[in-house]
Amino acid sequence: MSSKELKKVGPEAPPPHLRVTGIQKRFGGVHALKGVDFEVARGEVMALVGDNGAGKSTLMKILAGALVCDGGDFFIDDSPVAINTPHDAAALGIQIVYQDLALCENLDVAANLSLGAEPVKSGWRFLPKLLRPLDDLEMEVRAKAAIDRLRVRTLNSVRAKVGGLSGGQRQAIAIARAVGAECSVVMLDEPTAALGVAQTRQVLDVVKRLRDTDHAVVYISHNMRDIFEVSDRICVLRHGANVATWKTSETTADEIVVAMTAGLDNGTNNAA
């Protein structure tokens, strides 16, 4: 766990790194997001929970630039920004790890980590960039560095094919790929959904590592145990609107479940 000082909430909440306000999104007649506010600070894991159809995935896709919102404001460190394409999001340092991971199982770990940005050897300038020889040793060096940063200890070789790895190792590699690109915000979509106990542990360790390296982490999950273990704050959405945001240490799983399913009558304990 992080040994940082206890985080203040409410008016004294940590200064948000990424903040969005009043996000609106309609799909035809469906009003999927009705003016949602969301924020996440560096060095914090913000859990995003809600029942199916609450708008978690829509919000996350808007933040990643995969969907364009119909209204709302984006701020990075309090300066307004625009996110209309995945490229915009990447340029702002926002990376998303989708549930399906999108790894190439036929390639090894090093190749997957540098996919799309392969280093090439210098001195082959007469060839077009796509035909210059790959620097696969540099690729392995970078992959090792990325894996070591996240302390994925169970992975022996960066030359192992991803197809032969466990679910937890794959999740860790997908996260390492997101972090490897210069990024400050990492969004994880159900990272432990299909994993066993030991592998879940491994992924949660990686998430804590991300917090310790001063990343802003958005963690979408249905699993209350994981959320309470790893998150600092919990943001609950219901029917496309905010219910409330709690500080994890000051709430209980029962309270969150009630908020997810039945909403909240009074705004007590709101930590946003």
Partner: protein, 407 residues
Amino acid sequence: MQPEVSSSPIDRLRKLRESSLGSFVPVLLALAAIWLYFGLALPLWEYWTDPDATGLRFIFLSPRNIYNLFMQSAVIATLAVGITVVLLLGEIDLSAAATAGVCAALLGVLVLAGVPGWAACLLVMAAGVVLGLAQGLLIAYVGIPSFVVTLAGLLGYQGLMQKILPTGNLNIGDPFVRAIARILIPDIWGLLLAGLLVLAMAALALRRQAERKARGLELETATTLWGQVAFFAIIVFTAVLTMNAYRSVPLLIVLLAGVTAIIGWVTTSTPFGRSIFAVGGNAESARRVGMDVKRIRAVAFGIVGLLAAIGGIFGASRYGSVSYTAFAGGSLLLESIGAAVIGGTSLFGGRGSVWNAILGALVIGSLGNGLDLTGASAADKLMFSGAILLLAVAIDALSRPAGTSAR
């Protein structure tokens, strides 16, 4: 990594296929089995059962027959190398042989019209790229499945070839074109070339190992390192010595090896090749990291077109003529797809190698050659080829990683 506890034969097969040299093993075993059967078992059987036999006659394994085998397989191998590139993407090309036919016919017409041989070859290669790229653009940008587009290409290009060659046959006497199959590399130069290749490979492997050490990466074990060099040396020297024992190494084989080396290098050692494997493994993933999946698809079909054209030139050079049945109308297409698949390239994309396609072509060639020598009928040949192809695809299906078999 988790320790491997299970080791059923299928798991072992999978692990074998994952290793770098391991992908060669099934096709090499198939080749060895075929060569042992036709080369050793059949002559011995004949010798023991026939009281009139005067002595053992190893016709199949004679240098002369091996030489012919290499030459016979060269056109299949060239096309198989091209088809491997699209198979890596998870696509298929049914029009490669027809493209080769169109290119060969064009070559014949061009040299007949007085175009110099070298210029005609270049023009024909450009034509091949255009024919392939046209299909690639339809597949990538219009979104028609490659099976349908290349099936249409197969029909259309067969017709085009008949248009170019109304008589269905044309002799090619151009000295430049004929020279490709006729020129023999002098024995001593062949050996020298082989020696240089092996030395270069050993030097590269050692340099790589040194770089790995310098950068603190995991090292290859000495067995793997020298095993690879020794494996390469044995194959190169056996091939050169066998061909020298009959005549010499033909230029055609050197060209084939050169073309394969270039395509092999592009597919394994460049960002473009890496993107081919990535698209074949997980196209969505490739798209998300910003690869231009459509352009990669289109270019891959252009590469098949280029190799089909080269195959057409090789064929025209070897036969000294262009005929409809030798290319578009014959069994060349199925043999070259068979060669690529027998070589161990997955039909599902993402796994395979162009070098394996050459070995696969040798398997197909050996089977045809061996059955010819034993006087088998064309019907037997077809059935044997079918069985071998089925076996190869079965091995591919069994050795796929467990999680992906549904795709």
